[in-house]
């Protein structure tokens, strides 16, 4: 088995007093696409935010490339090779497309590989090259999502956390987003942890998946097997 890039070990976390995650453990190996699925309010986003150090952690550990990062602040975790594309894209609307990419590349590590990553990003998303001097707030939903992913790639991560990348996009664009997720692994060697509401699409692109319900992991396994799991098919109306 490949190296473990990300390990969550019995995570209990939430926001202040509000306990959301209960004993959540999961692993992501190098080169894997892992999907985290579950109903609204199950704690998927909270799991990703906990990995980035943006929640209150009561107990448990987050290991990144074997290193315990539990006590490291969010901004320093980026330099260690991880980043998150937040739900709702949240591009810097008042900055230009190019300035958004610059903002993604402010760490020392990212600075050193700036040109390479910029080329990679522009090859992945040629639209962004065309629109590099446009104010990001004027992009369409699909373009904004591309920019959000591109901006994250500029920090030169080994592992990328994607939170609902297809949320609010037209069906045609949703397909494109899943294609990009595959391409990120195949052409950019990225490891991916994907949170999605499109359960069927996610399980089709993922190698493995975890199902989160009410803050607990209730099911895990090979994505292809989960696709045929009767309980899951019923719960998420996969037809």
């Amino acid at each position: 088995m490949a190296r473990e890039v990300l390990v969550l070990d019995k995570i209990n976390a939430g926001y202040g007093e509000f306990h959301v995650l209960f004993d959540v453990s999961l692993k992501v190996h190098e080169g894997e696409i892992v999907a985290l699925v579950g109903p609204n309010g199950a704690g998927k986003t909270t799991t990703l935010r906990t990995i980035m150090g943006m929640t209150t952690l009561y107990s448990g550990k987050v290991l990144l490339n074997g290193k315990d990062v539990t006590k490291i602040p969010t901004h320093k975790r980026i330099e260690l090779g991880i980043t998150m594309v937040p739900e709702g894209r949240r591009i810097f609307k008042t900055l230009t497309v190019y300035e958004n990419l610059l903002a993604g590349a402010l760490t020392k590590k990212a600075q050193q590989r700036f040109q390479e990553n910029l080329e990679l990003v522009f090859n992945f998303f040629p639209k962004l090259r065309e629109r590099r001097n446009q104010i990001a707030g004027t992009l369409s939903g699909g373009e904004a999502q591309m920019l959000a992913i591109a901006r994250a790639l500029m920090s030169d991560p080994d592992i990328l956390l994607l939170d609902e990348p297809s949320l609010g996009l037209a069906p045609k664009i949703v397909i494109q987003v899943f294609d990009i997720v595959k391409k990120l692994r195949e052409e950019a060697d990225k490891t991916i942890l994907l949170v999605e509401q499109h359960v069927k699409h996610s399980l089709e692109v993922a190698d493995r998946a975890y199902v989160l319900e009410q803050g607990k992991i209730v099911l895990e396994g090979e994505a292809k097997q989960l696709l045929t799991d009767e309980r899951l098919r019923k719960a998420y109306l996969i037809l």
Binding site: H75, M84, L95, A103, L106, S155
Partner: protein
Amino acid sequence: MMAIDPSLLLQNIVNGVFTGLLYSLVALGLALIFGVMDIINFAHGDFVMVGAYLTFVLATTFMIDPSLTAFITMPIFFVFGIVIYKLIIERVLGAEPLIQIAVTVGLLMVLRNLALMIFHAEPKGVPFTMFTQPITLGPITIASSRLVAGIVSLVALGLVHMLLTRTKWGIAMRATADDREVAELMGINVKRVYAVTFGLGTSLTALAAALIMTFSRADPYLGLLYGLLSWVIVAMGGLGGVIGVLASGLIIGIIEALGITIVGAGARELFIYLTFFFILWFRPRGLFGKR
């Protein structure tokens, strides 16, 4: 409508432009701090007041021109700003506006009363400056202190604009202004950006104060005038960045000068606040507000 001598009108517009440039500089630090940190700093005008006294003390102690004290007061104020940030502002980040107002109004009262205690109510001026000769160009005469203050202000505005648009620090500041949480996801140390922004915004008031002291005097209530003026400019400039601050400052400067010409010096502030009132009536987001 009474007749106004056209050359007098031109003279006053020119006066207004140079005053407006200085006003823009006074407001710039507040605009930066408000824009990046979303902090409502009511003590901003009193930073200008403290800067004016510091300029007075340094200029009279070392017998140097008040304008040149900026080279000393700006670094001191940068550190002063960071100390204020660490001691007071960092604790109320993201707190309710009322708490931020209470804290910065408290700071304002402390600074104002310290000034009263140390320097008493009598205004203190620096009795010498190299900029005393008026400069005449055709029908227009302008005090060289005003000319220098305007030009230095414009240069400072230009430099801050370049900092914000051309440097990594500027990108980090604007990204933080846009979305603090996502800025952290970019690896930006937001707390450090805040400290530097507050330090920079504060040090700009020291430059403004040094320029003000070439033609005016320090008094404990200076903060009242410049604080309100800064808020008017920032509110009018909305989200227009440095350009917005510059445009609003010029509008205020020119209107003030015209008000003095047409009605008299007593009505000076009346016109500023009337303009403010009408602009926000018709454009509640400010002249440049988009959101």
